[in-house]
Amino acid sequence: MTQVIVPTLGQTNLDVTIEKWFKNVGDTVKEGEPLYELSSEKLTQEIEAPVSGTLTKIYKQVGETAANGDLLAEIE
């Protein structure tokens, strides 16, 4: 099982907001495909799936805030 962790982008540890999920729980994901989009005060960034598999859990929904290092999702 692979954990999807909230990254630290740029030089500040700002909390991020989840803007979009490109996949739903139960969907097949492919490594390198866009998985979700996050935003913070300074940036918006699309993040790809780190591995291929099935997206089994999503812990933060669209509009929710997350801190760097938080667990966001799981892929089996």
Partner: protein
Amino acid sequence: MNLSNEQLLEIYEYINYARCMGERLEYFIKTGKILGAIHLPKGQEGLQAGLIMTLMDARKNGIKINTNPHTRDQALMSKLIGLQPYADEMLCKTSGINGGTSGEYHMTCVEKGFLPAQGVLGPVWGQNAGYAWALKDQGKTNEVVWGIYGDGASSRGDAWEAMNIAALFKVPMVFIVVNNGWAMANPVEKEAPVQDLSLRAQGSGMRGITVDGNDPIAVFEAMVEANKLAMGGEPNLVEFKVTRWGGHFLGDNQEVYRDTSFLKHLDEIDPVLNYHKKLLAMGLVKQEDLQRVHDEQDAIILKAYEDGMNKPAPTVAEICDPNKVYGGAY
């Protein structure tokens, strides 16, 4: 310069290594394994491969290269001191080249030719000119110093001052300007009133040339010549023009300040692909070699970083060791 097939294939390995370095760093940042603020090298692999080739060739000829990174030089610097100590330092582990408290921005190992990296733009050219002066004063005629700056950093007053001083003292130094068209979010047209930054060398009476940084062979040839001139008492400048693919760092939304339509035609400008096609046409590689060599290089980088991630971080005592702050009694 007539490169042998071995040399051409060596460059092929390096250009893939540089590509994989950028891809893996991006992967590690996006998966939360490495903190952000890494300036990714994607798009500039031709330059990295040419500089690495110059380094390796110099070593074969008993020449020591002394340099430090600007940004996007992870591939070169990891070849200079070894991938594992480089990765470990980037990951802030005790086994890193500086004990884990310098990170990517402040690495150094003078013994191996890694002069102190500086997080502030401006001082490096002056620092390196001082080291080059010392080499000359000590009669070390088989050593040369490179100072690498971007199109933005070369605007700094210290940068001009350093060229001036290096030229006056005739130190064995090559000033390298990596012009990727962007000083963070400032296009080079708003950073400099001239198109070719190599013109700046003229103000200090030094030779300055502009080279296509996407062609690793051109880079290698230019640097071999530049080294020879510098070691002969003629510091000089080489400007390499390259294209930065991503934003300034991962997370920098360059769409707001840059026309990113070029991203739709990357295959046309991709230095790795273009070099592959060149070797393909020469019959030196087969089509499938690109993926194979890519994967081989990726495995090496992946292993180094994954091993590094499992290593210990420095303790509080190691981070706050007063012997690291003061050498004299305090």
